[in-house]
């Protein structure tokens, strides 16, 4: 059972306090999108063996959504960050790259 820190309220809590929300930073495809793009948006998800950026919700806490950068192999959590961003902040990116050289290119 993971431990995660909610970047909104600062609480570090057990996994059971959170609800997973799948891959982070999806690019929404709305009306006008091609069938292929829309299909990928609905169904194609990264399933990396290594660094993964995920949505979580502090469901039994403050209720806010946030993102976590986590290694799917070792379960190392490189960090959590607010959801209102298109990607991990620079310091976190640097921290991940330090732990997993080659990321994001080779590490994804």
């Amino acid at each position: 059972m993971l431990m995660l820190t909610c970047p909104h309220c600062g609480v570090t809590a057990e996994e059971t306090e959170f609800a997973p929300g799948g891959q982070a930073h999806l690019k929404r495809q709305g009306p006008g999108s091609s069938d292929d793009d829309f299909e990928a948006y609905l169904f194609a998800r990264a399933n990396p063996r290594g660094v993964h950026l995920e949505r979580w919700r502090h469901a039994f806490g403050c209720g806010k959504w946030f993102h976590a950068a986590r290694c799917t192999v070792t379960l190392e959590v490189f960090g959590t960050y607010p959801a209102r961003t298109a990607g991990p902040p620079a310091e976190l990116r640097a921290a991940i790259a330090a732990r997993r050289p080659g990321w994001p290119e080779g590490g994804r």
């Binding site: 431990m3 209720g63 806010k64």
Partner: protein
């Protein structure tokens, strides 16, 4: 035959005899005995039957790794199956029952018929699966079900108490042997919060049994001194009888404490759920059996276990004990036996060069030691009568028969690496010691990516006392960042390298191999692993599943290395290339009661109650669970059937006035400058154009275009909306709103608040609803002042209320929301003022019938996650002018605009009967699999008290285009029910009743 010595026994109190029973026979042991020790002390070596072959078995071990002596303890609802007699503490009146035998332990039909042996070769399960299904169903499964099964589950509710405890620690030490205690001492002195768990009732592990001094003190005294020191420290928690059975992600550690044993009070079991910064794996090591024919006979035991019984409980396994070993350690057993006056006719040492210093000491005592020798087979049936001594590298022919009534064996030691391996720690094969040990370079890692466990002492592969303490000292200082120090001084005895064996004697034929057991609990023999390898199951994980080696409670404790050695030999590869199987939690069996803790009965899960719950309960409501809520399903009067109550409630609403507790409906406040824009994205219809003071029904879809929720939206102000959701959808939809606001449209100025529990909501429905509200007084609820789909605020009977003119019954209806705390008062007022109007509380089932009579859908009944608004006839809800909303793109997909989709219709059974919910309509056509082609299904079905016949809603292929057609619904028993496709609105089709 085993017996109790006249003196000694460091753990027993001979002044306190305890009576107990075994299979109904009265026996006596001593306080401090384990059940196994007491049985052996009473001369009882036969303790159980094996799982597959029902072979007679006795205790092999003296601890948690015991595979054979599994017993039922107690009777009635407190009975515990599969308890290992080697760890059950003897108590006055204890009832033990052997397992896997019929009619009794001594005479077992299963063994006489050879049932297991013939029916269950290696790979049995897989082979039978390949046979026709009928063979499995009619032959194998019934036989297995009768013959197999470990133990018997207790009947009746468990009267005992169990609890769970959360704890946090910088360092958890799993194992209170000398290495664990020294590690705990170092961590405690460094100021860390420390918890030490010891699975046994006694501390110190093996050291006090061996008797070597530690730190200048007798081992017992050193252990006592450590405990006294640790117990006095505020940052240390000590728990005996507590087994760490799982180490999981991010240092989540589980331990089960047996509080109820040893005269303890409190709960029977306590489950510790600990977040451990660092886990010190100090679980020691397990001795391995040796693979020779008959090594499973009662009386054949692990050498160190023999020593445990001798020293701890003054029990000897026999009058003459042959010893066979591949390592020096078993010489300690031989010498201890001899020292206690037990005859040791021979020590067979597999190693051609013999043992080291300990062997020399044994020889000096006058013991016969045979180098390069082994036991070729054990003589005897339910007990040992002798052994055949033969060269270890021969084929077992022409050996020397030696009379004895017990055997002590040692195949070397395996570190207890389970806790290290469970969370992913790597193992390394140590060829010198002949064991897999934790590889410090591949420690399991925690949330920060750094090691979260360290193995010390025997668990790290350091089997000798001095080396174990030195290892614990070095490892803890390193991990805690302490300066180098010195471990407690101990004597060192150099030991010669051990030898592992795949089979004894090495060139034995099949007959012997088929009687040499590797996994006693699962009855896996040397020949089984060889068969698996011959049939291509050469991967260790495949061989494990094919043969069941190391499965069940063994989890590789005794069988792992022995099985791997056989597989390695069969494959012709070295042991490290074979590798090990995965060690899975739990390390030892744990009780379901412990895992459940207090979560049973009313505490199984939280129950959500509306503010009116007490009133419903007092009226004898029948409950319906809806999510965690309990809703009143109906209110049967005394002697009234529930179905009659539902009909009465429906008719009351249609004819007079009814009250429904609608408090569970989700109520989410959405506010902000972009609130209208946001709701236009969330609902398929337009919400931004809704005038203040009005209500609008809304349908929500997911991105695929499938309906996920519905409800009425009320515009409370220019920037404020109140969104009603389904009862089950409130939390999900709130999370859904937040997800979009935070991950997609995070620049939109919208706030959401789930107010579901802040309000009590009461539906007042029926032709007399307006009269009733007017009697309460305070608000103008006339048709002119509050038309359909309007809301107003005011005071009803002095209670601040928001009144919505909305209807889920088709009748004139008001839903009144008041502060949760005002709910009961309002309800009571409505009941009192409406008494002469015939006001009737109605439950969720009447609500369902009422809405079905009107053809209103319920998300979850008419929808199942694959149904679109168009399928439900709700295309008029979809705002044509909106460029985008969640689900719009999804609805454009080819399959979702297919005119052949199943769409909502009403269904009327030709004979007026109630169709079964979920029934499928079938055509005469057949699909590629030969099955009838279906063309629709019943989604809701009720008896309508209003219409006095069955009514149903369903989804039917091109349904609305096929009005009047009759569909066939095949039903149980070969019957076919016929139903006509009709409009989904059964009652008041023009909606005249809405306005009362």
């Amino acid at each position: 035959m085993s017996f109790r010595l006249g003196h000694g026994g460091r753990l027993i109190d001979r002044a306190r005899p305890l009576g107990f029973s075994f299979d109904g026979r009265r026996m006596t042991g001593f306080a401090g005995d384990t059940l196994a020790a007491a049985l052996l002390g009473a001369g009882e070596t036969l303790m159980g039957r094996s799982f597959k072959y029902h072979r007679p078995r006795g205790a092999v071990a003296a601890g948690v790794e015991e595979p054979n002596a599994l017993m039922g303890i107690g009777s009635g609802p407190q009975a515990e199956p599969n308890a290992r007699a080697t760890v059950v503490e003897l108590a006055e009146g204890l009832e033990a029952t052997s397992q896997n035998r019929w009619p009794n332990l001594a005479l077992d039909i299963g063994q006489l018929t050879g049932l297991g042996a013939r029916l269950m070769p290696a790979g049995f399960y897989y082979k039978t699966f390949i046979h026709p299904r009928a063979a499995w169903k009619h032959v194998f499964e019934p036989v297995i079900r009768r013959a197999a099964g470990l133990g018997r589950a207790p009947r009746g509710p468990d009267p005992d108490r169990y609890e769970q405890l959360y704890a946090f620690a910088d360092v958890v030490v799993a194992g209170g042997g000398v290495a664990g205690l020294h590690a705990a001492r170092l961590a405690a002195e460094a100021g860390r919060r420390v918890i030490v768990f010891e699975q046994a009732a006694h501390w110190g592990g093996r050291a006090p049994v061996e008797g070597e001094p530690v730190g200048g003190l007798p081992a017992d005294a050193w252990v006592a001194a450590q405990l006294a020191d640790l117990a006095a420290r505020p940052n240390v928690t000590l728990r005996a009888r507590a087994t760490v059975f799982g180490l999981h992600d991010h240092g989540y550690l589980l331990a089960e404490e047996r509080c109820g044993e040893g005269g303890g009070t409190g709960p029977r079991r306590r489950l510790w759920r600990v977040r451990a910064g660092l886990t010190v794996v100090a679980c020691g090591a397990f001795e391995r059996p040796l693979p020779f024919a008959g090594n499973d006979r009662p009386g054949v035991m692990l050498a160190a276990a023999v020593r445990d019984y001798l020293v701890n409980w003054a029990v000897a396994p026999g009058r003459a004990v042959a010893v066979v070993t591949g390592c020096d350690d078993a010489y300690r057993t031989a010498m201890a036996l001899a020292g206690a006056g037990v005859r040791v006719p021979v020590v067979a040492d597999l190693r051609p060069g013999g043992g080291g210093a300990l062997a020399a000491r044994a020889r000096a005592m006058g013991l016969r030691v045979a180098d390069g020798a082994c036991i070729a087979r054990v003589l005897g049936g339910r007990s040992v009568t002798g052994v055949v001594l033969a060269p270890a590298d021969g084929d077992g022919s022409g050996g020397e028969e030696i009379a004895c009534d017990a055997v002590a064996m040692s195949g070397g030691w395996s570190p207890a690496v389970h806790l290290w391996s469970q969370p992913g720690g790597g193992l390394a094969w140590d060829a010198d010691r002949g064991l897999f040990r934790p590889d410090p370079a591949r420690a399991p890692t925690g949330a920060d990516g750094r090691p979260m466990a360290v193995a010390v002492g025997a668990a790290a592969g350091e089997l000798a006392l001095d080396a174990a303490l030195a290892d614990a000292d070095r490892a803890l200082r390193a991990v805690l960042g302490l300066p180098a120090g010195a471990p407690p001084v101990t004597a060192a005895t150099a030991e010669a390298p051990p030898r592992t064996a795949a089979m004894l004697p090495a060139r034995a034929g099949h007959r012997l191999r088929a009687k040499a057991f590797l996994d006693f609990q699962n009855d896996v023999k040397v020949s089984d692993i060889e068969l698996a390898a011959r049939e291509g199951y050469v991967s260790v994980e495949h061989a494990k599943r094919y043969t069941t080696l190391g499965m069940a409670t063994d989890q590789g404790k005794l069988s792992n290395v022995a099985g791997i050695a056989v597989l390695a030999e069969a494959r012709g590869t070295p042991v490290p290339e074979v590798g090990t199987t995965t060690f899975r939690p739990p390390f030892v069996p744990v009780t379901i009661g412990g895992l459940a803790g207090e979560a049973s009965g009313p505490l199984f899960q939280p129950v959500r109650m509306t503010p009116l719950h007490g009133w419903h309960a007092a009226r004898g409501a029948v409950w319906e669970p809806v999510g965690l809520w309990r809703r009143a399903y109906a209110y049967p009067a005394t002697g009234e059937r529930t179905a009659d109550a539902v009909a009465r409630e429906v008719l009351a609403v249609r004819g007079r006035v009814g009250l429904l507790d609608a408090s569970t409906l989700g109520k989410i406040l959405v506010r902000g400058p972009d609130a209208g824009r946001f709701l236009d994205m969330l609902y398929v219809g337009m919400m931004s154009t809704l005038p203040v003071g009005r209500c609008r029904y809304g349908v929500m879809c997911n991105e695929q275009g499938f309906v996920t929720d519905d409800g009425v939206v009320a515009r409370l102000g220019s920037e404020t909306f109140l969104c009603h959701t389904t009862t089950g959808g409130a939390d999900r939809i709130h999370g859904w709103m937040e997800e979009w606001l935070q991950t997609e449209w995070w620049d939109w100025k919208v706030w959401t608040l789930n107010l579901t529990e802040q309000f009590a909501q009461i539906a007042v429905a029926g032709p007399k609803a307006r009269v009733l509200l007017e009697r309460l007084g305070g608000m103008d609820v006339s048709r002119e002042a509050q038309p359909f789909m309007r809301w107003a605020e005011g005071r009803l009977s002095g209670i601040a209320a928001r009144v919505f003119r909305i209807s889920f019954s088709g009748e004139l209806s008001f839903e009144i929301a008041v502060a949760a705390s005002d709910g009961p008062a309002l309800w009571e007022r409505l009941m009192a003022e409406g008494a002469d109007l015939g006001v009737t509380p109605y439950g969720t089932e009447a609500m369902h019938v009422l809405r079905a009579e009107k053809g209103y859908i319920i998300v979850g009944d008419e929808t199942d996650g694959t149904v679109t608004p168009r399928d439900l006839g709700l295309e008029r809800m979809i705002a044509s002018g909106k460029a985008d909303f969640i689900g719009r793109r999804g609805m454009e997909r080819a399959h979702l605009v297919d005119p052949g989709r199943w769409r909502l219709v009403g269904l009327a059974a030709e004979d007026g009967a109630v169709l079964p919910e979920g029934a499928y309509a079938a055509t005469d056509a057949r699909n590629a699999n030969g099955q009838r082609v279906t063309e629709g299904r019943v989604t809701s079905s009720y008896f309508s008290p209003t219409l006095k016949c069955g009514i149903a809603l369903g989804l039917v292929r091109r349904g609305p285009e096929r009005m009047g057609e009759v569909l066939a619904f095949p039903a149980a028993g070969g019957r076919v029910l016929k139903a006509r496709i009709v409009e989904p609105v059964f009652h008041d089709k023009d909606g005249a009743r809405l306005n009362g």
